[in-house]
């Protein structure tokens, strides 16, 4: 069951431009939250703050497991993950890329191999396990990025435009994976998309970032 996330009075300014202003919201656990908004409205910045990659200028981010506040940063970072718009590919095999999150957590080799095989099958890359990751197509790279995040079994799964510029077949595979995580694992999903129809298909809650604040649709 995913974590609950509460933000209060978040503010962030870039180069003198305020992108988040007194932004507060509570995201329910186990729900899929779809965030829409125009380019430059601060969606990615908000996600980077929520994923603990950046600090806000003001305000607080709280992760709650039930009523229990999680405040150990590394332990918390290991329960959440963010799939970036650009997949940072390690110069290694698909297997090594996907196994990275497990390797740094000290997961045993046998369990790692089984978990990697399962997620690669889920994203349709089982046959590419030993291929060089840098040789994958853009659609396959996106899917590998999803698999790499999925394999660590996050409680909160942030996705920043995971299907942007993908063909319908690749987008459908990724959507199915997201739906599976939501339904079977009850993972808290947070996703940025520019496609209202996709937001309707995947989301429990549709949100819009306007003037630096989150507005439910």
């Amino acid at each position: 069951m995913g974590l609950k996330l509460e933000i209060a009075n978040l503010a962030k300014t870039y180069n003198g431009n305020p992108v988040l202003r007194d932004c507060s919201f509570a995201f329910d656990r186990g729900q899929a939250h779809m965030l829409l908004g125009p380019n430059g409205s601060g969606k990615s910045t908000l996600f980077r703050i929520l994923a603990l990659l950046e600090k806000p200028d003001a305000g607080t981010v709280k992760y709650l497991d039930g009523d229990y506040l999680l405040n150990q940063e590394l332990a918390l970072r290991r329960q959440i993950t963010l799939v970036l718009p650009t997949t940072g590919i390690f110069n290694a095999s698909v297997f090594h890329n996907v196994a990275y999150g497990l390797k740094i957590r000290g997961v045993a080799r046998g369990e790692t191999e089984a978990r990697v095989a399962a997620v690669l099958a889920a994203v349709g890359l089982a046959q590419k396990k030993f291929h060089r990751a840098l040789d994958l197509s853009s659609g396959e790279t996106k899917r590998m990025g999803i698999a790499r995040a999925m394999v660590i079994d996050p409680e909160v799964f942030f996705l920043d435009e995971p299907t942007a510029s993908l063909d319908p077949a690749n987008a459908e595979i990724i959507e199915n994976v997201i739906l599976t995580m939501k339904r079977q694992r009850k993972t808290t999903i947070m996703m940025i998309t520019h496609d209202p129809a996709q937001a309707q298909r995947l989301g429990d809650q549709l949100l819009y970032l306007k003037d630096g604040k989150i507005v439910p649709l």
Binding site: L82, L84, G88, N91, R148, I152
Partner: protein
Amino acid sequence: MNSIADGFTRAFGLMVTLDPEFLQIVFLSLQVSGTALVLATCMGLPLGAFLALRRVPLRGLALSLLNTGMGLPPVVVGLFLYLLLSRSGPLGFLALLYTPAAMIVAQTILALPIVASLSHAAIVSVDPVIRQAALTLGATPLQETLAVIKEARYAIMAGVIAGFGRVMAEVGAILVVGGNIAGYTRVMTTTIALETDKGNFELAIALGIILLGVSLVINLTLRLMQRAGRVGSAITSWA
């Protein structure tokens, strides 16, 4: 022309018969330069990584000093090290002057800026999204650093090769602090210089061939490792 041909003939004789003096010089060269390269890499790689990945005061000055150090004149390094290690110098009590250890120190000083500076350049050229990817997957700061260094490994290897080229070909510093003592601190480059001065070309030519051969073999090996890593990273083992 005859003396050159004669020199080559006798040089091959030295190599084929595994002349003990010849072998001792070759092994000492490899020992001194190899140790210096290992030391320079152990210090230079973390230094380059630190300057590349951490915002520290005076970083620009440190990088300028390292870049200047890449062109350090070996004789000047030898001179300063001599002054430090000579009996009246501040480190004279160590009694290192005219020992292989002093030669290792000299070559380490020469190789360190090259390895550190080229490691820095290799690491800063890694796409920043790699660091972010490692962080999003739960890496600690150390694991994040190691992930970036791993991405830069082939370019770092090129820096190590450059450092090796520098120390293997170096003659000025080790001549000053090693003293070119037969059977103790005489290495390939100092022997070539000495024997050429004396007009004994056969040993100089034999050592020249070995020097070129060693450099070629090591460079080819590292190049093959780089190529195998690029092409075959897909089938490397888990560890």
